[in-house]
Point group: C2
Chain length 277, copies 2
Amino acid sequence: METVSENRAFGGTQGVYRHTSTSTNCEMTFGLFLPEEAKDGPVPLLWYLSGLTCTHENAMTKAGAQAWCAEQGIAIVFPDTSPRGEGVANDDAYDLGQGAGFYVNATEEPWAPHFQMWDYIAEELPTLLGEKFNLDMDRQAITGHSMGGHGALTLAMNLPGRFKSVSAFAPISNPTASDWGRKQLSAYLGDDEAAWAKHDASLLMAEVGFDGPVLVDTGTNDQFIDLLKPEALANAVATKRQHATLRLQKGYDHSYFFVSTFMEDHVSFHAEALYGE
Amino acid sequence: METVSENRAFGGTQGVYRHTSTSTNCEMTFGLFLPEEAKDGPVPLLWYLSGLTCTHENAMTKAGAQAWCAEQGIAIVFPDTSPRGEGVANDDAYDLGQGAGFYVNATEEPWAPHFQMWDYIAEELPTLLGEKFNLDMDRQAITGHSMGGHGALTLAMNLPGRFKSVSAFAPISNPTASDWGRKQLSAYLGDDEAAWAKHDASLLMAEVGFDGPVLVDTGTNDQFIDLLKPEALANAVATKRQHATLRLQKGYDHSYFFVSTFMEDHVSFHAEALYGE
């Protein structure tokens, strides 16, 4: 693992690191903010999964999360959203290929050799982080934005016991029924929709739910709200009697101005779960 | 004036606007965050002047200022750092020409026709803002980063009564004695150094000072600290017996991670001055 940069921030350190991933078979870059408390002992870890077109950098510089994580003594990791590089398959569309990994393990060509983002986020990167940094891997929580909200919700529900809490900003909530989902799940996983179900937050919520608190914010003026389908998740949450808070935030759109506005709430929400016991 | 975008943020609105400037003879773009309180009546205005290579966008997306301005009910404006466009003179260097206006009125060719950033920030943009938005122009404060810290300090001291308070992040503090300054002042203003003095914060501080509180933060690990010369400003402040707080922040560098870390302090500092009377 190589250190790309380290900047002092909010009493801690905002680092960027690069490593060769055995899941995605390429170099992967991630951002990690460690609060001051990490000097003295392991700190809880919040995952932030980003949306379409993003790298590790967007949320790291624009979401304003470090201020609140520093206040709570929590680390936050910003993984990339896909494999990248010359030898990695891509597509001209912004919503397929590089920058659009959708947090799945691709089984189809040309994607399968590198697009193994599920394994990367669920297995490889947590192992690396636990080895290299002063993190308490028994206290993890997860959040994300848009495609990353989809990733956060599906990882949380598929890995019971891993995360104490899950939240999302404007998540893609029902990809098996949306143009943000059907195209990508078909390309990465093939046409058998049975393989898609574990990557649909609304289907998972109806089926298994989450053993912890859930917080989801979506803007009423989100320009992509018809693709996000918050109504499907809301219906599943209510039907499942899931412990959850779903908020439609008046006038907010899909941008990082929306994300940063509610970041304090989300970090506080996770801190309560992480420090609760 | 044309609205480029408006995003809801922290209960208010983050807008981007474009207009034809009579000072710089080109289209100019600026960001303006208006807190929710601006719906009900005029709100105080904080100026944020950016550094070399920046546009109106950098601080608007990376400094995290809106959270604190919303909390205090203060508007914040993010002007561009120079004229721009095809007909505007430029230089291959990052620190001269477009993105590097240095907040002066150029008298020399090829810069003079467009590089009138002093007039733009001191006269034209305040007039426009006062006309178009619900701002209390009797309550203004100013801050900035690097070249923008230089701009904030020199505007504040040259326009007595305009600003209730001035602060700066890692300001270029003594440009007449630095490679960040001599090159640009010579290019824009010519070789007569008498014309440079009103654009040097340390010289101004020794000569006239500021009728209000001053706050300056610089990182001890700032990679450009030898160009910034905080020691010149510190010496002038102490000699002048200026009401001021100068802080060297251990381990911080020149990045926006440094700026965002101390933004809450700076906004609180200005709020106290703006609401003090």
